[in-house]
């Protein structure tokens, strides 16, 4: 059927064009097919990257198109690396990435392990657990802002019900100590299902006969978990950690919607600082340098991590 279609297409191709196509090698044809994608990538990814690298060495400001652009050398980089506020933003980001990944991995893997038991109604629970992940971050951010409202929010009332603390004293978004956790809670609520899905795929890929062999050897459930389940699911868990790590390193939407980086600068992650410098203060050169530093940091860390992941897979 497929051959006949191909023959029909070949027959329908005008002779001059057919002659030209026949003259192209397989490699040439492959390049022909991927060239639109490559061109698009070059235009919207590679060119801006190189342009940003160039701008990072200048004093360029997008809101001053008429101003002379001066070459500053590494001055922007030096200023960023010596800026206390930037390091605070990086620490805030690291804190956020660490806790979200830890919680999402622990809860996600536990949920996956439970779902993998295939108890009655597990399909229903799987679907229900996946719901937060399907929502738009804008919607999630807005409704959690209402949930956290100290006067009318359900969250404050729930905590108040359990602890006896008046709900108006539970100011999740206004309190310096609680605000970072309010974002971690929402991110964990939203993205744990994603980690769970990847872990579930890992658990389902473990062949049943290995467990059967372990049963024959009278290995306890605990032993089976440590010696079979965890090592064999580890590459999947690591993959989930990589995906979430990269995503959370550049987290913007949730923080912007929930706290806007506040109170003060307590939840000002690197991406918020970058946005403020680039599109509010209009320091284009400076913010380009900051973006390059972030890019190198994520790229470097991701590379080290992928190497570790490959080692685990080869074991």
């Amino acid at each position: 059927m497929l051959n006949r279609t191909a023959e029909n297409v070949a027959r329908a191709t005008p002779e001059p064009l057919a002659r030209k196509v026949r003259g192209i090698s397989d490699k040439g044809l492959a390049w022909l097919f991927i060239s639109p994608t490559i061109l698009l990538l070059l235009a919207i990814n590679i060119f801006p990257l190189f342009w940003a690298i160039y701008l990072s060495f200048t004093n360029y400001r997008a809101n001053r198109p008429n101003e002379v652009v001066k070459n500053l050398g590494f001055a922007n980089y030096q200023r960023i690396l010596g800026d206390k506020d930037i390091w605070i933003a990086m620490q805030t980001t690291a804190h956020f990435v660490f806790w979200t990944i830890l919680l999402q991995t622990l809860i996600g893997f536990t949920l996956a392990w439970l779902i993998d038991r295939k108890f009655r109604g597990h399909a229903f629970w799987t679907t229900l657990i996946l719901v937060p992940m399907m929502l738009s971050p804008a919607v999630v951010g807005n409704f959690w802002r209402f949930l956290y409202e100290p006067q009318i929010g359900l969250f404050a009332y729930a905590i108040s019900f359990v602890t006896g603390i008046p709900p108006t004293n539970i100011q999740m978004l206004s309190n310096v100590s609680l605000a970072p956790w309010s974002i971690i809670i929402v991110d964990t609520w939203m993205w744990t299902p994603y980690v769970m899905l990847i872990c579930l795929a890992g658990l389902r890929s473990i062949p049943e006969y290995i467990y059967e062999a372990a049963e024959v050897d009278r290995a306890s459930n605990w032993r089976q978990f440590w010696s079979i389940t965890l090592p064999m699911a580890l590459p999947f868990i690591m993959l989930a950690v990589l995906f979430r790590g990269i995503e959370n390193f550049k987290m913007f939407d949730m923080v912007n919607l929930l706290t806007g980086g506040g109170p003060g600068s307590t939840t000002e992650v690197a991406s918020i600082t970058l946005k403020r410098q680039a599109f509010e203060s209009w320091r284009t050169g400076y913010s380009s340098a900051f973006a390059i530093i972030l890019f190198v940091a994520v790229f470097g860390l991701a590379n080290i991590y992928v190497k570790a992941l490959n080692k685990v897979k080869q074991r």
């Binding site: 198109p65 100290p150 108006t168 980086g261 509010e280």
Partner: protein, 443 residues
């Protein structure tokens, strides 16, 4: 067959012709860009008269305040042609003038005999001039605005509360004239039960993202003695921005936030303030005057229940208020500058300005605001006039954005997050602002 072909051709021609005609009509339409708020709706209503008079249609591009600066500064920076006319924020004037975004209006004003002497002086300096205090005009004052206060007149007039207040503080409960009095009133109402509901002292600006906390804190700092720079030496800020008086002002603002605002009001600006007042949460409410017409009409808190007062005095008797408001400018990238200038000429007309005020806009024309009937025209008219007489504004330098971002950060870090001291915050601000001006080559 032939007749149906003719019919089809005829119909096609008619459709093409009508489309072309409508395109010609639309080509004359002007697009006016502004923030999405109550006065914008009044301007839509007002502009119908302009269309009637000139045949020029008006389209409007209104953006919520939180995105207003981002959206329109991007538009101007990219030399976009979306806006023919723009009502840009007062602080944009320096950048817009120096970067060539606005058409300079001096020749046009001379030709059309529009005199800036006919407008409230503070609005001319604030909305039209760059450099400040020089006769270089880039906008026509369009919407006067200033930070002032509303209060719950009905609560203030409750005899039992008046009695209790007098016993506690030794003076009659009424609109405060000093910031100390304001704080006492706010403390008095904080967490009080009124009509079976817990209420709070005051709603003040604490917003972090755009300009909120700066507008609020400055509104207090000015009256405490804060100055942007040495009046004798421009850009010298040490000892002026971070003077002892300024430190006391910022400490006061933090104390007011800590003691007397509703729970969770850590990111509150114009909209949140209006919500807090309308929902009967607060006894007093800091906000720009543009919110007053809407509050006055509100069924629950308006009418006889609401009162207005000018920003109170500081400890030394100084009294200033943060300027808001905007001027209307012609965008230099517009292809319809001639029609846009016609709109400005029409808008400057006395009758149009009088109608502008009656619809809910705040006219800046002397002939309107100095009319003997003006103070009695609305319950808030006198407060507006008194407030406009004491205004000060934030930097209007081309680098206003980084200057604003620095103050937003420093003030929020101290006032809301409680990090460091007021002195640290203001010292840091001097450092940040110095860096900005050094980058600009002004220091």
């Amino acid at each position: 067959m032939k007749s149906s072909l003719k019919l089809a051709l005829g119909l096609t021609s008619a459709i093409t012709a009508s489309t072309a005609v409508s395109n010609v009509a639309h080509a004359e339409d002007l697009t006016l860009c502004w923030a999405a708020w109550d006065p914008a709706n009044a301007l839509v209503e007002l502009s119908k008269d302009f269309t009637k008079e000139t045949g020029i249609g008006m389209k409007f591009e209104f953006v919520p305040w939180t995105n207003y600066a981002d959206r329109f500064l991007n538009e101007l920076n990219s030399h976009g042609k979306l806006c023919d006319l723009i009502i840009g924020d007062s602080q944009w004037i320096g950048g817009a003038a120096e970067n060539g975004h606005y058409v300079k209006l001096n020749d046009f004003f001379d030709k059309e005999k529009i005199s800036m002497d006919d407008f409230v002086p503070a609005t001319v300096v604030g909305y039209s001039e760059w450099p400040k205090n020089t006769p270089n005009y880039w906008a026509l004052p369009a919407m006067g605005d200033v930070v002032g206060w509303t209060y719950r007149k009905d609560w203030f007039s409750k005899p039992e509360l008046q009695k209790e207040f007098k016993e506690k503080y030794g003076w009659d409960l009424g609109p405060p004239t000093t910031f100390d009095q304001l704080k006492q009133i706010a403390e008095f109402f904080q967490k009080r039960q009124i009509d079976g509901k817990t209420v709070y002292g005051a709603s003040i600006y604490t917003e972090r993202g755009s300009e909120g906390i700066t507008m609020g804190a400055m509104d207090v700092l000015y009256s405490y003695g804060f100055q942007y720079e040495n009046p004798k030496k421009p850009y010298e800020m040490e000892g002026f921005v971070n003077s002892d008086k300024s430190v006391k002002g910022l400490e006061f603002y933090k104390a007011l936030y800590d003691c007397c605002t509703p729970p969770g009001a850590s990111n509150s600006y114009m909209g949140e303030g209006v919500d807090a007042f309308k929902s009967g949460q607060v006894a007093m409410h800091m906000n720009f005057a543009f919110t007053w017409p809407g509050l006055q009409k509100d069924e629950n808190v308006g009418g006889d229940k609401i009162g207005y007062f000018v920003n109170p005095k500081g400890p030394d008797g100084d009294q200033f208020a943060q300027l808001g408001g905007q001027g209307i400018s012609v965008v230099s990238y517009s292809d319809k500058q001639e029609s846009a200038l016609k709109y400005i000429k029409w808008f400057a007309n006395k009758d149009v300005q009088a109608k502008w005020w009656s619809l809910g806009g705040y006219s800046c024309l002397n002939a309107v605001v100095k009319d003997p009937k003006f103070p009695a025209s609305q319950p808030y008219a006198q407060t507006f006039l008194d407030s406009m007489a004491i205004v000060k504004d934030f930097w209007a330098e081309p680098s206003y954005a980084p200057l604003l971002q620095a103050s937003q950060k420093r003030f929020h870090d101290y006032v809301v997050a409680g990090q460091g001291s007021a002195k640290d915050a203001l010292d840091g601000l001097v450092k940040d602002w110095t860096q900005v001006f050094q980058d600009d080559g002004k220091m």
